[in-house]
Subunit: 198 residues, 2 copies
């Protein structure tokens, strides 16, 4: 686990709330994540370490719903899980691209679909015990169809399913991807609360 | 980034759906996560790498709701985000402990609360583009109060807030933790759908 120092070893510690960071070392790095290994003082004053998974990209997800209330899902084998997963179109947004531009680009690349109306549905930190990954989820409507251009790491299937069927899939666990669950159930909740409210 | 080989370098590749894994190296490891650096063949046949964040523990989360429909939240500074975060009680469940036992233990340790009735609300993969982290979320009711025994890494505040206020906090982004958002909004949705249906 040799790595590069990028922390101020020997300098004053850096506060993170009740935590103190004494050193930071890059333990691993690729195009998507950097692992920081930090030496810290914990909230109770005891010494410890913290391994932080820093994401290079923002995660954007797009719940695209057509005029017949059908939802666009992409299916792919998720390497990290070794499981097949049906999800809304998702992708990484690098620094220098806005979240909305990244969401538009991912939707177009993965599915060929473009949308005339965009609305932010949710922002969530996906796994805040060890990572700083932020997801921004959009509702995309007024859809137009074009040609997909998925990249080499993606072997995607595309399906249009009724919203109520996709909601049933999140509720019974057939869809387990957190970004998809949050987007679908938040839209369902907004609709249900509007229906109850009048 | 020296590490230990635990993959069959030179042996036959291992399939993960349309992916092939040729080698696997432990790039980083602590008590909570292991980073695997894999050499792969991607679905389109091109060579690549994959960095997998493997979690030692299952993540358990507990939406505890009392007889006055108040929700138990814990507040803490999340080191990986350098942000204060209000969340349902959550914690890691190691191999050898059931998810439900781990959820009971985390609730008791963090808050001193015990629950007579447990129901599984959701299972989600939190960040499946790079990690295998699985979260299981429970609804806990019939609550009894005891004495909390948080561990050294936790400096927790505890609050009881009306369910409708907690839901407002997830919907407007004051609560951003994905496990909390999924648990709170799923319960709200189940209630709303029951209200509409009946």
């Amino acid at each position: 686990m040799a790595g590069m120092d990028d922390g101020p070893r020997g300098d004053a510690p850096i506060a993170s709330g009740p935590w103190l960071r004494h050193t930071r070392r890059v333990a691993y790095e690729n195009a998507w994540v950097t692992i920081w290994h930090d030496e810290v003082t914990r909230p109770d004053g005891s010494p410890g370490i913290y391994g932080v998974v820093h994401f290079a990209n923002l995660a954007a997800g797009v719940l695209a719903v057509d005029e017949r209330d059908r939802v666009l899902l992409v299916g792919q084998h998720r390497y990290a899980l070794d499981e097949y997963s049906w999800e809304i179109p998702e992708g990484g947004v690098p620094d220098g691209e806005t979240a909305l531009d990244g969401a538009r680009r991912e939707l177009r690349e993965e599915t060929g679909v473009e949308a005339g109306t965009w609305r932010e549905l949710a922002r969530v930190h996906l796994s805040n015990s060890v990572s700083d990954e932020l997801a921004i989820l959009y509702l995309a409507t007024d859809l137009r169809h074009g040609v997909a251009t998925p990249d080499a790491t993606e072997a995607l299937e595309i399906r249009w399913l009724p919203f109520e069927d996709v909601l049933a899939m999140t509720l019974d666990g057939r869809i387990s991807d957190a970004m998809t669950v949050v987007a679908v159930e938040r839209l369902a909740l907004i609709r249900a609360l509007a229906s109850i409210g009048g």
